[in-house]
């Protein structure tokens, strides 16, 4: 990603401009490169606003191990530096540790920052703590996944239903609009797992009557488990046309399964999700047709930006869709795409 730093900053600045100028919430790439110069000026102005004492923003994410969260963190830190605020970034060791995450949120509230950013592992468990934050007068912005509460001001996230539907459209196109497909999902509980699955399945059911989703299984994003699941799916359906993995571990599991079975690249159309070196390699070698990527750094940037705006009493867009994008051999080298991928 070294070569894309400049581009990344430009995109960041442009995105910041789009947001402040028109409350931008598009699923599209920021398409107007001409806005870059103005954007530099725009974000420069905001910096002035935060100068009278550094704002303290506590971000509690779903994890820190996964590179996705590291990308969110780096986006948040970039933005924080740009706006002259300080952020802390915390998260539980795994995405099943709801309890540990709540503990972190509690500690964040006790610390008394100017704003809290939270990505909920569980949409209900966080409700009482949000009320505590409200009583303490700490505004809450959310990112990636929300909580069933009126307290938070806004959320910056990928619209996973849209992302899942995007995967379905490309799947349909690649397999010629008919045949059997299977889904290896990473969770039947957390919202990204559910929505990426539902967005895909709903789109197929609505628009492609000749495509049948024959099986949906859950591998917890575990590479090994997902590989074994994909192999049983292929064993049960010798005429499987396509497989869709809803996160990195699920998708790599499918890739490994196909390799282990000695199938030719392209014999089954594989669509993945997120990033990672293994998926990038699989696309380059033709084993994987393509993947849906989010913009994790964008999520981090918008979260910090929203927090600062809330602290300063500005209005913010309630839901900021940070976008989802199709990546395949034809565009994987593009700079805009490279900025969203991580190794």
């Amino acid at each position: 990603m070294k070569h894309s730093r400049a581009t990344f900053l430009a995109v960041a600045a442009t995105a910041a401009f789009t947001l402040s100028a028109c409350g931008g919430s598009s699923g599209e790439l920021v398409e107007d490169p001409g806005a870059e110069a103005e954007a530099e000026g725009g974000s420069g102005g905001e910096e002035g606003g935060a100068e009278d004492g550094e704002y303290d923003i506590a971000l509690v994410s779903k994890g820190f191990q996964h590179q996705f969260w590291q990308a969110v963190q780096s986006g948040a830190e970039e933005k924080a530096e740009e706006l002259g605020v300080s952020v802390t970034f915390d998260g539980p060791a795994s995405e099943t540790e709801i309890d540990a995450q709540l503990q972190m949120l509690r500690s964040a509230i006790e610390r008394g920052p100017d704003a809290i950013g939270f990505a909920a592992l569980d949409p209900e468990a966080c409700v009482p703590l949000y009320e505590e934050a409200e009583q303490a007068g700490i505004p809450v912005v959310e990112f990636d996944a929300g909580c069933d509460s009126e307290v938070p001001v806004n959320i910056s996230k990928t619209d996973s239903m849209v992302a899942g539907a995007l995967a379905a459209e490309h799947m349909a196109e690649l397999i010629g609009g008919e045949g059997k497909v299977g889904v290896v999902a990473h969770s039947q509980i957390n919202s990204t797992g559910v929505e990426r699955r539902d967005g895909f399945v709903d789109k197929i059911e609505a628009d492609y009557p000749d495509i049948e989703v024959v099986d949906i299984q859950y591998g917890d994003g575990d590479h090994l488990k997902s590989a074994d699941i994909a192999k049983t799916m292929l064993a049960a359906n010798s005429d499987m046309a396509g497989l869709y993995g809803t996160n990195e571990g699920s998708a790599i599991g499918i890739v490994n399964a196909v390799n282990e079975l000695g199938m030719e690249p392209g014999e089954v159309t594989i669509i993945g999700f997120d990033s990672g070196q293994a998926q990038i390699d699989a696309i380059n070698s033709g084993v994987m047709a393509g993947l849906i990527t989010q913009d994790p750094q964008g999520i981090g940037r918008f979260t910090v930006e929203s927090a600062v705006q809330v602290i300063e009493g500005e209005d913010v867009e309630e839901i900021i869709d940070t976008g989802s994008f199709w990546v395949d051999q034809s565009n994987i080298e593009d700079e805009e795409i490279q900025a969203m991928l991580y190794q």
Binding site: F64, Q65, H66, Q67, Q70, A93, S94, Q188, V214, D215, Q217, Y218, D222, H223, L224, A227, D228, I229, K231, T232, M233, A235, A236, N237, S238, G249, I252, N256, E260, L261, G276, Q277, A278, D281, Q343
Partner: protein, 349 residues
Amino acid sequence: MTESQAPAKERQTSDEGAEAPPEQSTGGWRGRLGQGLQQLLAFGTLMALMLFFAVASPNFFTVSNLTSILLATAVIGILAVGTTFVIITGGIDLSIGTGMTLCSVVTGLLLTDMGLPLIVGVLGGIAFGALVGFINGFNVAVLGLPPFIATLAMMMVAQGLALVLSGVRPIYLSGVPGFQQIALGQLVPRIPNAVLILFALALVLGVVLTKTVLGRMTYAIGSNEEATRLSGINTRRWLLGIYALAGACTGLAGVVLASRLSSAQPQLGMGYELQAIAAVIIGGTSLLGGRGSILGTLIGALIMSVLINGLRIMAVQSEWQTVVVGIVVLVAVFADNLRKRRAEGGGRA
């Protein structure tokens, strides 16, 4: 564990005695009779399951799917075979899941960052596993910590270290020539090497458990550690060896896992220990110690993978798959209890 006496020097003397086999007859043999029955039961269950799924789905009993089942058994099976020793001593090792991950990270670093030859990376991973096991053994046998707690702590240490050493990112090994062949090459046509490794390991450790002093000590310690110690055997030293042996298996599992994934994934591994322990229990090894077999464990691991594979082939929902496996573990423990009670009724020593 009330071994507060016996400082290091005193133990030296009793060591020689331990080498001479006839010292111990404290137990272990007692369970052997029932063990054949338990293995037969487990084997029968395995066959019944396979028959059931073969009838239920035409896609189950195919060469390709049976190969998939064997490959899916490899990693858990290697862990389970090693940890069978620990469980027969009446101990438990919760660190094998994340320990396995740590070893795969160590192998990954040796092969990529340090650029060492393949064999060094592989042996390094296994040796590191043995070291982790040795530390577990030290904590249990010398410091006298309960195995559950000692290995629970090690589970966390290993998970943390795997993350620290890897820099919280996967280490890709696709650039290491020949590494993927360790698990996925086919010395025997159609059978991935990982499966051969599992069966070869099971064969060797089966012989070790039944035909060597180490094996007899494993049973003896599990039957009655105190009596074994009082009969002049240095149980601490044997326990160290047993935990180190299980650790080496953990290391081997880590190498096979990394090979199969062409990468070391530092966040993986939590929960694998419970699957391995479940395989051991289904295979008829008693959690109370003193009884168990490698063959049983192998069958137990196969039962788990056949069950999960078959349910998936039939497109049963994931959540129900977990319920079914849980019930099978319950039944296995119940059967073990039943048999033990009968054995006790039939006149125990």
